[in-house]
Symmetry: D2
Subunit: 328 residues, 4 copies
């Protein structure tokens, strides 16, 4: 490939996700394989503005494929939302001879990259790295599968104590304004009810469902609640509501929080990140820009970032139906 691109930057931005390191490794090693220079940009756009760069070769990324977090660190950066901030960032890239970059992150990070490209015409390719799976153009984002396993393992533990005490637990999981984590992990954990932003069951139906569950002879119940759920009540308020209206249950609450972001990535996320990293570098060398790498039907594809950040992968209606049948 006789590309004009001689030096590629790689940056992680926004919330971290397991598998980001595997994606960094793939970008760095693909550059090495294709004899292009590679530079790590630290602390997201903040580091771009500060010129916090480090040259990376194939050995810089040894033994990171199985590490959670991101060795490049990440940050949310207000200054990059200003023209001045982006100018500084561009000047630094220019000075360092960086011709293009791969940005690993979510929709906020992609949006920043699009604006930057429009202003300074520097090629960019995105890799979707977020546990929330809230990006259009890929059936799975890097980190989503790992987060599902983490949530399911934790709920397995909570069920041990729930069923020893015949208790009802409301478990809040991440996902911002979408319910992918809640729905999938809820089905995987055998939850009795799953509350997601996409479907507002209403509180009455929740009570009905819990009554039915108790009547059916179940000794314990887990209700998985997406953080973006639209019932208008958080898990603590749900606890109070149920205790008031359905006093047959001893209710507890668990907010899983940030533990969902960490841990060694699953095999799926490592492989996905590796494939995406390869394709991202190749796309830049082919002269492409403003695209996101995604996976669809087990093929790596490219989608305009402008589309990717507008939509979401739809919630799986069939899986909602499966979840209902499973709570029989």
């Amino acid at each position: 490939m006789a590309s004009k691109i001689k030096k590629i930057g790689v940056i992680t931005s926004g919330g971290d996700a397991p598998g980001m390191n595997a994606a960094i490794r793939a970008v760095v090693r693909t550059c090495a394989y294709l004899k292009v220079e590679c530079v790590g940009i630290y602390r997201g756009y903040e580091g771009m503005i500060d010129g916090d760069f480090k040259a990376m070769d194939a050995r810089s990324v040894n033994n990171i494929i199985n590490k959670g977090g991101t060795i490049l660190k990440s940050a949310r950066c207000a200054e990059f939302r200003t023209k001045e901030g982006r100018q500084k960032a561009y000047d630094n890239l220019k000075a360092a001879g960086i011709d293009a970059f791969v940005v690993i992150g979510g929709d906020g990070s992609f949006n920043g990259a699009l604006i930057f490209n429009k202003e300074f015409d520097i090629p960019i390719i995105g890799i979707p790295g977020t546990i929330d799976n809230d990006i259009f153009g890929t059936s799975s984002t890097v980190g989503f599968d790992t987060a599902l396993n983490t949530v399911v393992e934790v709920i397995d533990k909570i069920r041990d104590t729930a069923s020893s005490h015949n208790r009802l637990f409301f478990v809040e999981v991440m996902g911002r304004d979408v319910g992918h984590i809640a729905l999938n992990a809820g089905v995987g954990a055998g939850a009795e009810e799953i509350l997601i932003p996409e479907e507002n069951l209403g509180l009455e139906r929740l009570l009905e469902s819990l009554k039915r569950s108790k009547a059916s002879g179940k000794s314990s119940s887990i209700v998985v609640v997406a953080e973006g759920d639209k019932t208008g009540r958080n898990v603590f308020e749900l606890k109070e509501y149920v205790e008031e209206h359905l006093p047959i249950y001893d209710v507890r609450v668990s907010v899983l929080g940030h533990l969902q972001r960490g841990g060694p990535p699953s095999c799926f996320d490592r492989v996905l990140a590796s494939r995406m990293g390869v394709r991202a570098v190749e796309a830049l060398l082919e002269g492409k820009t403003n695209l996101m790498v995604g996976i669809q039907d087990n093929n790596i594809i490219l989608t305009p970032i402008s589309k990717a950040i507008k939509g979401h992968t739809k919630i799986d209606k069939e899986l909602i139906r499966v979840s209902e049948i499973m709570t029989t």
Copy 2:
């Protein structure tokens, strides 16, 4: 649905795989939901021949979604390969009023079911349960994803000691005559080389690759070897070969063996098994037979079992390429 089918059997057969219990649970609960009776058939076809049956309701499958193995037990059964054996099995099903059954297993189990259907005209639907992912008509079999995570976690541990001692490890993984586990887990574990039946690199190339790896400054190396690899040497012989021809390495061997079959299923396998179990029961009630439930592009589809057992999901050529780039 006004189906003639009033009582459905469920059976696990052949090698066990994580997620089989989730599939059993889904079959049982879907029957309960659709008001069809459900009967568990124990110990595979052996139990069918012995009439080892037990009625199952929604509560029979409480708290099994996260358990490895199969509560119905499994077995390989020589007698079912005889006409007499199958006649006994049929008589038992008849006596118990079982109109149809769902068989969870691999190609051998499916083949038995096909023959049985041809002889006795009893409807059957298959759910692919095997860690090997060697069935056509589904991008993933139940158990495959869990086995990948298990292998990758174990190799992470082996790498700890490998890199502390600058050693080379040959790690043999399962997969019968296909390389899906080896290729995916090899990429996920960051293996320096992956030997699979589908690609015979030859031993010379292996030596070249190991030399290059050492020269590049890597301190340790993991070579993942599929049990069905065609180099003509098992891992112990590979060790001897490399020690003789490339004495720069301190070589060790690890045969992972049956630990790859056990453990709590991953979230993906639990969800997959749940979806497949629902579809399997519905297909029977729709009057279908001799089909296997599969997943393709995140949709649950049906494939004739006769096709499913003839072919394999193809090894992913692009992933082989990714694996080569990653070992830079």
Copy 3:
């Protein structure tokens, strides 16, 4: 042994802990081995009052050694605190021919057993089952070691995201009014500061410590807080306090909650529970009562329950010192 005791009950009471099932199994199998009948009492003292009993033989406890929770269930029971409740319980035991029982639980459960023994003269032996390690007469309670591993694994995950974002996390762990979990898991997780009820550092010192940590070049910080900590502020208030007085940090909070009670027990807890279960049954057959089985210097010993519930295992002053040195 020619003991008058022919039938032994086994009961789990109070909060559940990993390893309780291993203790149940040990009690049941030791009874079988010594040819004494064994009866499981369900749902703690509530089940004793309701006569919720089931005969158990060696096979009743197959495949439970690795399961969290308690197959006998547990409950806190107000009625057992009344004379009438205890009379009912005693009548049930009498009617079932139960001569003595082993109670697996914490200080509340032991106290109940002592009162019961005083009133009805039925021999009882206690096995300390609680994650909190707050019982005198044993260096470790069943469940403590598992909870430490669970906490440390979760904080490892939180650190992935903390260090990717240069954040400070306050992590609240269980332990009621003692700091054993916080101190041990804090040292094990490499926490920068550990707040326990036994040592009130004061908030000023916390700020100093965090300032020093930042100055020393650490990129992230974990502060482990025992739920019984005496600073007078919970983790949410600590977050606010630090944000106000030390705005150099981006602060997050995580309350681990009930996930700490579940999961497969560690090898240590399984072995400990097995040894304790054997000794508990033997002690009853030797005519002993009102004693608790404990471990000290790797020997299984007996302590009067009256002593066990009065005191606590002291917090390890040397370990506090180690924790300070480690945060250098």
Copy 4:
């Protein structure tokens, strides 16, 4: 403390064990805390002979407490067994100004250190780091507890498949010539029989035991075999023997191998290693030498290395008895 010792080396030697990094971290941070310089010696005695040293400060050991293996690497070194090799090593230490060192390893490494001390009068303190727990003077070596958890988790997985197929598994575990891993992990995993070097049951008794187990209604059996077992047969030969003499079983074999050495250390091992690292540095500064740090009854104590390497912690006879009762 006004010690003559101004610079302390730290070295890991022999087989690696989980928790070695936690011990390194503790040595380094204690030096920093006490304002003594600290130097990492790489690749065991080989690196000492090669002068492979690196200055370490408190930040050099960030985020390693939870990593398996050893960041200092390890090796077995023939040259250090020669006078010439040791002279080179001493010259390097001298040139680097290293006054004393802490050696983390097993009996071979300790023996080397003793000889070295005798010849060159340089103070040395040992920290027992080995999964085998085969050192006198400490109830637990660093890495033992983690290895037990690893083995038990793996056997849990093997039991999933064993009990699905009613199989008998011989599982070989590490431990060199002692049976601590086999006995403890065997009890923890609920093994039906445990073969250790300290007790030769004889093959007849094994058959009796397996017959009894089958007759008692158990569906599967796990026999844990220490690698140093004295029955005169390895697990493959045991399989053949049982298949010939007790054809009621379908027998499989699993050699766990090096996966037992890796993985994140347990909380216990992290805390133990931290406490030992602190005491090791303090002992050197107090002018002590030729001692090993150990734990006894939860206190950190010092034992002459000459004693530590002569004996073993005795196998726990009471635990053997417990294991027999548990297989009822």
